[in-house]
């Protein structure tokens, strides 16, 4: 079973995505999706990152819900700043020292930071493990760093145990 599905999570994701794209639960389409789910992990083998073990899928769902909620809330906050007086904004480059030590998980964290409005991640340095990001309005960078570490990094570390 393990040899047939070297990446079970990837296979399941491909199958579900194919079903969503096909938009119809016809037997032929689902069969084609199953074939793709079997074949694609083998074809893409050289590109896999060494993903760490998924320890707590449950925490992943809470984190996903939190990110969606934060996107909605932060959108409102950024909208106010965009309409308001632009000169009073305090844009800043902020460095977040990371506790996690995994390129894959760091990528997820950087993506979350970019998706939540108001912050765009620029670079993750893999030697000193610092995430550089640009904030649209950060009068208090220390608070922003604390928030990112508590809200996103801590759960990610729990999920992947790294």
């Amino acid at each position: 079973m393990r040899r047939l599905f070297p990446r079970p999570a990837l296979s399941v994701a491909i199958f579900l995505l194919w079903a969503a794209l096909a938009n119809a639960a016809s037997l032929g389409m689902l069969l084609l999706g199953a074939v793709l789910a079997l074949a694609l992990p083998f074809v893409s083998k050289p590109f896999w990152p060494d993903a760490p073990r998924l320890a707590r899928p449950g925490t992943m769902l809470t984190l996903a819900a939190r990110v969606v909620l934060d996107i909605v809330i932060a959108n409102g906050a950024v909208a106010r700043r965009v309409i308001g007086p632009v000169a009073r904004l305090e844009p800043a480059f902020v460095e977040v020292p990371l506790d996690l030590r995994d390129p894959f998980v760091a990528t997820i964290l950087a993506s979350i930071v970019s998706l939540t409005p108001g912050t765009v991640s620029i670079d993750v340095d893999q030697e000193s493990w610092v995430l550089c990001l640009h904030a649209l309005d950060a009068p208090d960078p220390a608070a922003l760093i604390r928030e990112i570490k508590q809200r996103y990094e801590a759960p990610l570390k729990e999920i992947f145990t790294c």
Binding site: N23, V86, V96, L115, H134
Partner: protein, 148 residues
């Protein structure tokens, strides 16, 4: 079509349009490249997200079966949007570094690191090359302010 569904779809389309508009306003109003980068990321996440959700609800309600294309659209957008922003930001740092050779010592080696106290306030180790480039950016903005 049910009144409640019609209402929900209308609200979602309007919400998406408003946030796409706000993203564009941000792109037009904000002063420099890095702040402008924030506008489009916002428009893709909530703006497109709301419209895509409206589409999913509408076609699920009006046509037989469930419409799930839209979820795939959202997944791909959420995966690609940060990558685009990341590449744009890196490209901008590179170009600034190439075009504006710094006449002053870089913040990392001179000036005590923080210029106007706004860049890299946390003072940890950002990669040196990035820090130098960002330092130059700081000087460019300062020069622009002087011109004004």
């Amino acid at each position: 079509m049910n009144v409640i569904i019609e209402f929900a779809v209308s609200v979602l389309i309007l919400l998406g349009a408003v946030f796409a508009l706000l993203g564009s306003i941000g792109l037009a109003r904000l002063p420099d490249f890095f702040t402008r980068l924030h506008g489009p990321t916002k428009a893709t996440t909530l703006g497109v997200g709301a419209m895509v959700l409206a589409s999913a609800i509408y076609f699920t309600a009006t046509q037989p079966g469930v419409s799930l294309h839209e979820i795939a659209v959202m997944v791909f957008l959420f995966i690609t949007a940060p990558v685009t922003a990341h590449l744009l930001a890196k490209a901008a740092l590179h170009r600034r570094g190439d075009r504006q050779p710094s006449p002053h010592p870089s913040p990392a080696s001179g000036r005590g690191g923080n210029g106007d106290g706004r860049l890299f306030r946390s003072g940890n180790d950002c990669p040196l090359s990035l820090r130098e480039r960002v330092g130059e950016r700081d000087e460019v903005t300062q020069r622009q302010e002087e011109v004004k």
